[in-house]
Structure formats: C-alpha cells, structure tokens
C-alpha cells in the first residue's frame, strides 16, 4: 500500500503534461474554416513591403481566416458569427493589396481585422439593419487620413438603404446617405471619382429597375441618378449577375429571362449593351458568372463564364472607356466537364485562369493565346465550384496557383497543375465519429475464434497450418529486417507503436452526407472521403464499427455500411418511415454481436429486441426517462418524470467500455471502502428555468429507482451544464449564482461525487465535497478510457471560451479531500491533499496545449493495447486528436532510451571478453607451472 502510494505520487506529479517534442507527433489538429464563399475569397498581399501573399476567406460558417498558400496552414482566423447577433446568411469580406486591413461584415456587424495577424482593428454594429454590401475605397482622397483605407457600406435597414463611409482607422462614420425611396438596397461600387450606390426599384407591374445613384466620395452628396429599364429581365435581386467592383469601369451584368442575351451596363452611363449568348452546347445554361479584375488600374476587361450541366465555356469582353461600349473579343472553347475561372491582375494586365477537370490554363485578357497550360496530375471527379488565382509572370512564361473549392468540401491549391495541398473543409460539419477497426485484425480474430472452438488437437493442427501459411511472408519480413533495425536505431522514434492500436483510423460523418476516414497515425490525414448519402442534413445517430467495416445509422432508419480501408459502400438499408430519436446499441459489452434498436420520439423502441436479460433505458422527446424489457415495446417497465417545472436537459450513463481495476479504495488505516459499481446507473440532469435550479438524479437503469438526487440552486440554465460518469463517480458543472444559504459562490462550478457501498445493501454512501470553482465554462465532459482501467482517469473537459481541451486528473478532484484542515498522515498516505475551493486549470492539463481547438461538440476516448495510453478525438467544428497518458507512458520505452548505446555497450563487453579470456587462461596455466 505504501509502495503503491509512493508510486502513485511519483506518477501524479508530471502526469498528463505534453512535452514539446510530442507536439505534432502524438496529436493533430485540423483548424477548419468552413466552405469559403465565392465572392469573399481572394489572394492578398497584406504588407506593402513584402511580395508574399496570403489567401483570405470568409466562410459559410462566418469565420474570417488567412491561409498560407504555401502549405495550407492556417495563419489566423476569427469567428465573426459570435459577434454577429442577427442571423446572417452570408458574410462579406473585402481587402486591398498593401492595405493591412480586411473589412468583414456579417448581419449587422462590421469589423476590421489586421491582414497580417488577424487582430481586431475596430468593430461596429449597425443599428437595426443588415449590411448588404461593402467596398473598400481604393483611391485615397483629401479626406482620407493616412493609414488604412476607408470603407463604404450599404445597409438595408428595413427597406431603407443607407450608404455609410466608415473611417478605416477607427470605423467611425465619415458621412451617411439615406435613400428613403423604398428601393431594395443592393450593392455599392466605386470608380476613381465616384461611389455608385446600386438599388433595385420596383417596377409598376413586376420586376425591378436598376437604379444607380452616384455619390460624391468626399461628402456623400448625390451627384446624379440613373434608372436602367431592366424590369423585363430582372425579377429578383439574384437575377443581377454581377456588379463590378472597384474596376476602372465598373459594370452591371444581367441577362434576359431566356438567357439568350447578356446585358451589360457600364455604371454611370445610361447605355445598356446587349451581347448575344452563343450557346452551341445544346443544353441549358445552368450558371453564368462574371470574373472581372478588382483593381482600379487594371484594364477594363472581363470574362463571362457559362456553365451547363455537362460542360462550360467562357467569353472575354472588353469595355471601351471612351464610348462605354462593350465588345466580345474572344471565346474560351466549350469543354465537357466542369471548369472554374478566376481573374488575376499583374500591374494593369488581366489574366484569366481556367481549371477544368483535366487541365489548367492561363490566358491574357488581351488576346486568346494560351500563356500556360498544365495537365492536372490527379484529375478529380469532384466538380469545382469556384476558384481564385494568382498569376506570376516570369518573362514570357507564367506560373499560376489557384485555390479551388470543390463541391464536396475540399479546398485545394493547384500550382501549375500540381495539387500542393488540400484542406478538407467539409470536416467542419462533423456530426458523429467513431474509431474503426481494420480488417487485418478481423482475419486474426476469426482464426483465433476457430481455434478456440475446435478440439485441442484440431486447434493445434489449425495453428500449425496457420503458421505454415504465414511462412510465405517470411522472405519479405527478412528483407525488411535490416531496414527496420537500422531505422529503429537511427530514428528518433524508439518504438513504432502503430501495432499497439495507437494508429486506429477514425470515421467521421458530416452533416452533408459525407464520410471521411482520418488516419490518426499520420497526423490525422484524410485517407478517403465519400459521399455516402445525398442530403444536406444527415442526422447520424450511431456509428457501429466492426472489424473492416462500419455502419452509420441515421435518424430515418436508414444505414450505410462502408469499408474502412477503401471507403467503398458495402451495404445500404433504405429508410423506414418513422423518425428515430436515438439508436440503442445492444450487446456492446463484449464487443461482439452488436445489434441496434431504434427509439421513437415517444421513447418507445421501434422494434422489440431479443436480449433476454437486457433492459433498455431511453429518453423521450418530451423529457421522460423510460425503462423497457425485451419482450414489450409498448408499455415501459418504469418511467421517470422530472418534477413539474423541470425540464430534462441531459442524460448520461457509464461508457460501454469502463473496466474497473480495483473494486475498492484502500484507506490510510488499511481498511477498504468498496466502490458502488453498478453498470446500470444513469445520471439525469433536469433544470427548472423559473426557480433557477438544476437537479441531478442518479437512476438505476433496471429498476428505475432514484439512487440519489441533488438540487443546485441559482443555476443559470442558459449556460452549458455538462456531466459525465465513470466507474463509481459522476461529475457535473454549471454556472451557479449566489442564492440564499445553499450557495455562496458565483461562478462556474464543478462538482464530483463518488459512490461507495454501505454496510446495508439498500443504500449508497455518497461522498460529495463542496464544489470546485473553475475559471471558465465546460461545454462537454468525457472520461479517458484505457484497456484495463488501471491508469488514472482524466476528466476531459471542453472549454469553449478558450477553445481548448483540458484533462483534469481524477485524484485532484477527489471528493474526500479534507476541507479546512491539513490532511492527517493516513490521509496523506492515500494521496489526499487539502481541499482548495478554486480549481485553477494547470497548464500541464491542457491536452490541446497552445492549439486553438474551436467549436468542439464531442470528445471521444478509446483504449489502446497499451494500458498507459488512451486515444482522444474531438470533433464538432475543428478536428483534434491526441494520445493521453494520464499516468505517464509507463509501458513504453522513453525517447531517451538509446538502442544504439545499448548495442554498443553489448558489443564493447563482448570484445572485452574476447580479448581478456586468452590472457587470463595463459596466466592461470603459467601460475600452475611456477611452483
């Protein structure tokens, strides 16, 4: 016991700390942005002194981010949706070369961010409106202060259009123009001399007329107004294809309803040029996009891209600055398949990059000669949605890099036809994940199973045969041996732990019907991604992994079985009619023969289940907890309804794999406190929003009996209440306010309780300390799992306000820590130390260390073959995976273990013996003769 205590203390002190050389080795992180939006993604040189550019975007998740185009690493990101209080469909992001400020808008929120490091410059909330468009003024004028460029924003404030010029340095309003005519505020554009406010005026019968109001950039005074007769063509604001931004001759582009003619107006002029659309493809045009340079000094050329279902072509047009005429100059030919076009500018020259399924090519806007053409190394079947490009001219030849966003959520950088990196932004929508088991283990497991069921002699013969069969791998193994020995001696990695189940693949299912396999042994690289289901809202309820395959169950009763190693869909079950609330997994205890039972919204099992001694505990949509037996799926055996006024918010149970190494706790006086180990316990959290209380009920899942109930007063039910259960303890956290006599502390609290057997068999002794005050909210709790449960457990807490994951060692949270006194010698022997109400998260506990792990909704833990090591995988928005060794890696050779030194020592000893042995022998013989 004393020895145990000493060992335990030795293990505890540096527990769970992550060493610098383990970063990026044991853990990986996908810092995701979401799908970049087409008009808010661009290459930009953040600093006027440097030629290096970064790739900026505002995603559909309203995250502003900068990505290094060299390797795809995230430079910085900011979540705008936290500040945008009104729901916004799409955000806007604008930037200018050499201007160290990006201006983004989402809903009523406008903010300016430093382009280099993502620091906030200023922020503004538009009262009672939504930002409709945003432009940065490229040209400096007399009123512009030195420093950052000013912003012009169009605000749609309940039908009234407001144009505001905001100071680039502090975001204050320079001038404001109100358009009270009732037009729909649409966009803003600027030329070198004027700001154009484009609004849509309802025509008498139907459709919209495009109204252009020219404003003086200095004062915001209206200089002139023009109304274009577009009501026959423009039915909705979406019908206007393009409003050219910040080019020398900004344009408005729309088409007629039949998509036969393209209509172009140079803003500021009255004239509308019609260009006939030359559709030779034979199918309808699905999408028309206009790509024009955004720089003021660029040539007034633009490209119109026509995409049909099967192919695409493009036309390049020039604007005559004198007459305002638009002429078609040349055409990029129709090619089957998808293509994405982007415009880029070097000095004044405009280049267009077109990436099709098989090649990338660059043309100048001036002539149709192809400047560069590259075959794509890996043609993708995934169609490209949009791209941005950066062209570099080297003498006569050009080099191009394009950031291409594909339909299935991959953001790729293609440099001269080569895929440089891929960011799997689709992972941001992860809704469920699980560890997969590879098929190799399945074969062996199957063989072992056969051997287990045969007679002794039969099993022996089977085994001999199996080993004989394995001999065919011997030559390869021998061939590989020298390399393995060399590499194991020379490399930093002492032992490759992949064979210990440390490098298990993880399957992630996303909301839009995709399934990804992440290789945790290889920095979480995506090994495959498939579109399992064509849906935009895939409610995955459970993923069951069997060796070599995984089945994903959805709430409509359908399921998809995929091959773990290749991503092939093996089987598919069509949806049944009813919506399921949850899916119960039966027989998970021994890991074999998994069966599932759907749970209806009223909590009843959809089918009766055949597990004789099994009980099923479900929750219903209206907040009841129900218990069922196998034969009856109509009437529950028991029902738990929270007291009136209380609403069930969460229910948790012990994990399916929760081995207990020791069934009791040894006290200082060597007596034993037996743990109350009931695998059927469930912890139910219910809140009363009116009286601000939170109740925690501990239920027995078989009898439905309430084992324990506690109520916390002054709980803010809008803040996250997380709970977790393992072994004989449960923990929960909440935001508690000062209320009456029960609680005298205001702040986030963490309570942990342990359950022990009492002498009488009917009761449970509960050990509950005063709560721990914690510095920040916990949104999700989980517990590490190891193979045998010997290793200390960590309480994995997701901290949403600091975007990190912390693993609190269980001994720190011991509820038996002495309160208001120092521990006695016996208590100290148990490892108890004085209770301190304030629990500061130790820096060593942070599993995510310096990483910014944002938006985590769920944390999974999985045992490995190594008792010391537990795998952790977090998903929700970012993807984060690591290995935790709560009691240090006691069963792995450390990095300071030098195999080379060991080998050299043995060799040196052998050499010494070989040299000394004859000498000694000669001496002994001589001694005999010397009498």
């Amino acid at each position: 016991m004393r020895l145990q205590a000493a060992l335990f203390l030795a293990c505890l002190s540096p527990a769970a700390a992550i060493y610098p050389d383990e970063i990026n080795h044991v853990d990986f992180h996908h810092a995701l942005l979401g799908a970049p939006s087409a008009d808010s993604t661009f290459f930009l040189k953040p600093s006027p002194s440097s030629n290096a550019s970064l790739l900026y975007t505002l995603s559909d998740k309203l995250i502003v981010g900068a990505v290094n185009p060299r390797d795809g690493a995230l430079v910085w990101r900011q979540n705008v949706s936290r500040s945008a209080n009104s729901p916004a469909n799409a955000g806007l992001l604008r930037g200018l070369d050499g201007n160290d400020a990006l201006v983004g808008a989402a809903g009523s929120y406008i903010s300016s961010w430093s382009a280099q490091d993502g620091k906030l410059g200023w922020e503004n909330w538009v009262s009672g409106g939504v930002v409709a468009d945003l432009e940065l003024l490229e040209l400096e004028d007399a009123t512009a202060s030195s420093g950052l460029r000013d912003t012009v924003a169009v605000i749609n404030s309940e039908g009234t259009g407001i144009v505001k010029r905001l100071n680039g340095n502090n975001g204050r309003t320079v001038w404001e123009y109100k358009d009270a005519s009732g037009d729909v505020p649409f966009q803003v554009s600027s030329s070198s001399t004027e700001i154009f406010y484009v609004s849509l005026q309802s025509a008498l019968l139907k459709g919209f007329k495009i109204k252009v109001t020219a404003l003086d950039p200095l004062s915001g005074q209206v200089t002139r107004q023009q109304i274009l007769n577009s009501e026959a063509d423009v039915g909705t604001p979406e019908s206007v294809i393009y409003v050219g931004a910040n080019s020398a001759s900004p344009i408005i582009v729309w088409t007629d309803k039949a998509q036969k003619t393209l209509k172009v107006n140079v803003i500021g002029t009255k004239e509308v040029t019609s260009i006939a659309i030359d559709n030779t493809s034979g199918s309808d045009i699905r999408q028309i996009t206009v790509h024009a340079p955004h720089k003021l000094n660029a040539l007034p050329h633009f490209l119109v891209h026509y995409a049909t279902e099967t192919g695409a072509w493009a036309e390049v047009c020039h604007v005559d600055l004198m007459s305002g005429k638009v002429t078609k100059v040349y055409q990029l030919p129709y090619l089957p398949g998808q293509s994405a076009v982007a415009a880029s500018v070097i000095d004044a020259n405009v280049y267009f990059t077109r990436i099709t399924d098989s090649e990338a090519l660059v043309v100048s806007s001036a002539s149709h000669g192809i400047l560069g053409r590259w075959d794509l190394q890996k043609p993708s079947s995934d169609s490209a949605l949009h791209s941005v490009s950066e062209v570099v001219a080297k003498g006569k030849s050009v080099a191009v890099r394009s950031a291409l966003f594909r339909k299935h959520g991959d953001w790729q950088l293609i440099r001269n036809g080569q895929v440089e990196w891929t960011r799997h932004e689709g992972l941001i929508d992860a809704v469920a994940a699980t560890w997969a088991e590879s098929a190799v283990q399945e074969d062996l497991a199957h063989e072992l199973e056969v051997e287990g069921h045969e007679t002794v002699i039969g099993a022996y013969l089977h085994r001999v045969k199996r080993h004989a069969r394995d001999l065919q791998y011997l030559p390869d193994w021998l061939k590989d041996l020298p390399k393995r020995i060399l590499s194991s001696i020379l490399t930093d990695e002492v032992s490759n732990l992949d064979s210990f189940g440390v490098a298990k693949p993880v399957l992630v299912a996303t909301k839009n019907g995709r399934v990804y396999a992440l290789d945790t042994g290889n920095h979480g690289a995506v090994s495959w991604g498939i579109q399992a289901v064509e849906t935009s809202n895939w409610a995955v309820k459970a993923i069951l992994a069997s060796p070599g395959a995984a089945t994903i169950y959805s709430d409509d009763g359908s399921s998809v079985t995929v091959d773990v190693s290749t991503g092939e869909i093996i089987a598919r079950v069509e949806p049944s009619s009813s919506k399921l609330l949850a899916i119960a997994v039966l027989g998970a205890q021994d890991g074999s023969k998994l069966a599932t039972v759907g749970v209806n919204a009223d909590g009843s099992p959809a089918t009766s289940f055949a597990d004789e001694d099994g009980f099923l505990v479900t929750t219903s949509a209206d907040g009841r907890v129900l218990g069922w037996i196998a034969k009856d799926n109509k009437i529950p055996v028991w029902e738990f309804v929270p007291p009136s006024g209380e609403k069930l918010v969460k229910a948790t149970a012990r994990p399916a794999h929760d081995p207990v190494a020791s069934i009791g706790k040894v006290l200082g006086n060597r007596s034993v406190l037996y743990k109350y180990l009931n695998p059927n316990m469930a912890l139910v959290t219910a809140v009363n929003e009116e009286t601000h209380t939170a109740s925690f009920y501990l239920l027995d899942g078989v009898s439905g009996k309430v084992l324990h109930a506690t109520t916390q007063a002054g709980v803010d039910s809008t803040q996250p209440i997380a709970s977790a259960m393992s072994e004989n303890w449960f923990a929960y956290s909440f935001f508690g306010d000062v209320s009456g006599r029960e609680s005298s502390a205001k702040g986030y609290q963490l309570v942990i309780s342990e359950l022990y057997e009492s002498p009488s068999p009917t009761t449970v002794v509960l050990s509950t300390p005063p709560a721990f005050m914690i510095p920040e909210p916990i949104s999700h709790m989980a517990v590490t799992q190891t193979r045998q449960g010997i290793t200390t457990r960590l309480l994995l807490c997701t901290l949403p306000s600091s975007n990190s994951i912390v693993g609190i060692p269980r001994p720190v949270l011991d509820p038996r820590r002495p309160v208001d006194r120092d521990p006695t010698a016996a208590e100290a022997e148990e490892g108890l130390f004085r209770y301190a109400p304030y629990l500061d998260f130790d820096g060593k506990w942070y599993l995510s260390h310096t990483r910014d792990v944002a938006g985590i909704k769920d944390v999974l833990s999985s045992p490995t073959l190594l008792e010391s090591t537990s795998l952790i995988f977090a998903y929700g928005s970012d993807i984060f995976g690591t290995r935790a060794t709560p009691s240090q890696a006691f069963d792995i050779l450390g990095k300071n273990f030098s195999k080379l030194q060991l080998v050299l020592t043995v060799v040196a000893l052998g050499a010494g013996v070989a040299v000394l042995a004859p000498m000694t022998r000669r001496k002994q013989v001589n001694a005999l003769w010397k009498i």
């Binding site: 039972v597 229910a651 948790t652 149970a653 034993v672 180990l677 059927n680 899942g701």
Partner: protein
C-alpha cells in the same frame, strides 16, 4: 652393630624433576620449534585425560552440564532488548538497511530453532537427557520471542497481509444479473 641408621639418600635428580613441575621454559627456549614428528598437544591431552580421570565424579559433571545448558538456553534472551531497541530505531520505512536487519532478526531464531538439539548435544548424557527437555523448551521459547519481535517489526512495516486491503486484489466485482442498455439523445 651400632651402625647408626643413615638418613635416606636424597632422591635422585630424575625423581625430583619428575615430582616438581617443569620450570617455565625461557623465552628463547619456547621459540625453539618442536622437532619434527613431535606434537606438544599430545602431552597436554594426556595430562588432561589424566586429570579428568582423576577428577571424574559423575554427579558433579551433570550439575555442571545443566548449569551450562541453562546458560545456553537463557542466552538468546539477552539479545532481546538490544534487538528491540534496534528495530524500534530503524523505522518502519522500506529501506535496504531495515530490511536487512529484519532478515537477520529472522535468520537467527530460525537457525537456532533448527539447531536446538545440536546446541545441547554436548550436555546430553543419558543422565541429563530428561532434565534437558525443560531447558530446551525455555531455549525455544526464547527464540520464539525473538521471532515474535521480528514479526512485530514486519507487521509495523506493513508487510503482513493482515488487513482487508491486502486481499482486495482477489475480490471480484459484483456482476449484476440484468444489464441495461442506454439510448439517450
């Protein structure tokens, strides 16, 4: 014959030498090595045998033997205070020094107990045999006291599986007959 009776002649020199003890050899003489084949102890042994033979009185030797045997039997008890103090001072922590001391403490009494008969073999005669039984019992008791001291020490060090916690590893978890499966949202 008035021949006066002459006093008896003085005994010859060899008689005088025989009856008087040999003078102590001088230092120089004692350093002279014995001649080859001469063993000085042989003479002594013969002397002792002669002495024993002359002083042999069976009753007296039995008393003497019993006295000696009692001394041997009581002998271990003299170690008890010293050992007790040593054990008390050495502390209850598990260190190489205290472990070695405890091992010595066990080794002595156990060896003593095994060699009980050997220890009293030289006092064992047919006449003392029955009386020696009590002595042996006392001797064994003394050794057991020493052993008890060792056990007390081992217990104090926490090495004896006397508490519930020592048997915890052999107790198994209670397995419920029913198992509930949970399906929470």
């Amino acid at each position: 014959m008035s021949q006066a009776r002459l006093p008896p002649p003085p005994p010859p020199q060899w008689v005088v030498s025989l009856n008087s003890p040999m003078p102590r050899p001088s230092k120089a003489a004692s350093s002279i090595p014995d001649p080859p084949g001469f063993s000085s102890t042989r003479g002594k042994q013969r002397q002792q045998q002669q002495q024993q033979a002359t002083t042999k009185k069976p009753a007296d030797t039995d008393v003497l033997k019993m006295k000696k045997a009692w001394e041997v039997a009581i002998g271990p008890s003299k170690q008890i205070p010293m050992n007790a103090i040593m054990m008390y001072m050495s502390g209850n922590s598990l260190q190489i020094f205290s472990i070695m001391m405890v091992m010595m403490l066990f080794k002595g009494p156990i060896q003593g107990l095994i060699n009980t008969n050997a220890a009293f073999a030289k006092y064992d005669t047919p006449s003392t045999h029955s009386r020696l039984l009590g002595v042996k019992v006392v001797y064994m008791l003394m050794q057991l006291v020493l052993l008890g001291l060792g056990i007390w020490k081992v217990n104090a060090m926490g090495l004896l599986p006397t508490t519930r916690s020592d048997w915890l590893a052999w107790e198994s978890e209670r397995q419920p007959l029913e198992r509930a499966h949970f399906a929470f949202r």
